[in-house]
Assembly symmetry: C2
Homo-oligomer: 250 residues x 2
DNA sequence: GATGGCACCCCTGTATACAGAGAAGGGCCG
DNA sequence: CGGCCCTTCTCTGTATACAGGGGTGCCATC
């Protein structure tokens, strides 16, 4: 899974960023822990310069926090922080959907979206849904959300949606895998998929307010899932980054 | 104004970031232009390492764009981009106001906000408003918006509002100075100030939807001002970053 | 005269060396 | 025996050297 030795195709900086992100999200680096550059250098196999670049980028990404006296530490998130991040993502996605609706989109632009929806339909038709189907759903769902955001045709907005989705537990597909073993998993997916269809319908009919409201509510499905996951901490391996969420008891 | 030689109190990286930002916003570096590291090193007086760090941060900030073949260029913004950035800022500020209203704030938390409002009242009382008063307004307005955002008590949201306000023409106080010479300047300020009062009222009464709507509308005052400024390009020196906005004719 | 290829130069990405600051541990003094 | 200070070590921030790649300009050929 993880490319150990040098992918010469990509820069050392990108490799370092990817490796460090993995290290953080997998929980190998604990929240609050100061990240030792030298240790990271040794682990990753690049020199200090690209590692430092990667650290800066991860700070901007929100996974790291600068320490006043120098260096970086892994950021910790409260449950409230995560819920707010999800709400925020839903809000900016809602704005994107409203822009798309208000400005109008061609049926040609909607084609790939509808293709996504049909593929997802094919997945949720099976009952129960296989683990492989959940994996496919994650990919398709991410694609749908990306395409939907692009319908806004607003580079600044697309940029901010991407930023808001960068945190894994705030991303649209963050909680899909965690619910794969839950009893009402299929039910949740059917509801989410219905919301997908409704937002496309709203955009087609240029109903901006409706499209916006749906996307907000859509994000709240993820919020519900978060609560479930945090209550019974099984399957925490299915959500990278769960280790960053500090519980009240900690 | 610009600290030429080494402020040893702050790091070279921060100095480089500040200097580069000034260079970009003042228009010394033109949009689309590739930024030469060596030239920047010479201008700023730091070595390449902190300059490169600053470039990465400015890219994340949204002022620069990475060139696929390496290096960075100054980003160009269309009028639509700027309007969308303003709308986006209003939307996330609206979310912050809604959070504040829904979660409730103590009267103690509101005190500094109301202090701000009273000070602004003192400024807009004069007619016509002096240039110095406009400058004071800019500072007070920025403080009000910052305090308001903090009322949400949501670090992730505060972070995103800051990011959305980073672009100077998207910031809450971006267009205040440009309108200082316009005939209906005082009128605009009175309206903006009324919106300030209304949003505080909404938050006090825990009217989340109202607080959110007001902040969105409040941002659109800036959108109106943008159009005015772009139509008659006088006073472009009053808005740093105006050089980054490419007009259709360019 | 135009176009394609080659060579050169600059410029970025990477590695590493160095200096200063902060933290920790031990020793000394109260 | 405890607390404070000093020393030392490590780690970050900065500077610089080096190598690889891309772009440009010139020359040769068609």
């Amino acid at each position: 899974m993880v490319e150990r030795d040098s992918d010469r195709s990509v820069s050392q900086t990108v490799r370092a960023q990817l490796s460090l992100r993995d290290l953080i999200l997998s929980g190998d680096l604990r929240p609050g822990e100061r990240i030792s550059e030298l240790q990271a250098v040794e682990t990753i196999g690049a020199s200090r310069t690209p590692v430092r670049m990667a650290l800066v980028r991860l700070e901007e990404e929100g996974l790291l926090e600068a320490i006043p006296s120098g260096g970086f530490m892994v950021k910790a998130f409260s449950e409230r922080d995560v819920l707010d991040s999800i709400e925020l993502r839903g809000t900016v996605e809602g704005l994107a959907a409203r822009f798309a609706a208000e400005r109008g989109v061609s049926s040609r632009d909607l084609e790939p979206l509808k293709g996504c929806l049909d593929e997802i339909d094919g997945l949720v038709r099976q009952d129960p849904i296989s683990v492989e189907a959940f994996s496919s759903y994650v990919a398709l769902n991410a694609r749908f959300h990306a395409l939907l955001t692009e319908l806004s045709r607003s580079p600044p907005l697309i940029r901010q949606v991407d930023r808001a989705s960068a945190l894994p537990f705030a991303s649209p597909s963050g909680f899909v895998m965690t619910q794969s073993t839950l009893p009402n998993a299929r039910h949740t997916l059917l509801i989410a998929q219905d919301q997908h269809r409704v937002v496309i319908d709203a955009i087609e009919n240029r109903e901006g307010a409706r499209a916006e409201a749906i996307m907000r509510e859509h994000a709240r499905v993820a919020a519900r899932n978060l609560r479930v996951v945090l209550r019974n901490k099984t399957h925490s391996d299915l959500l990278p980054g769960l280790a960053l969420i500090k519980m009240p008891g900690d």
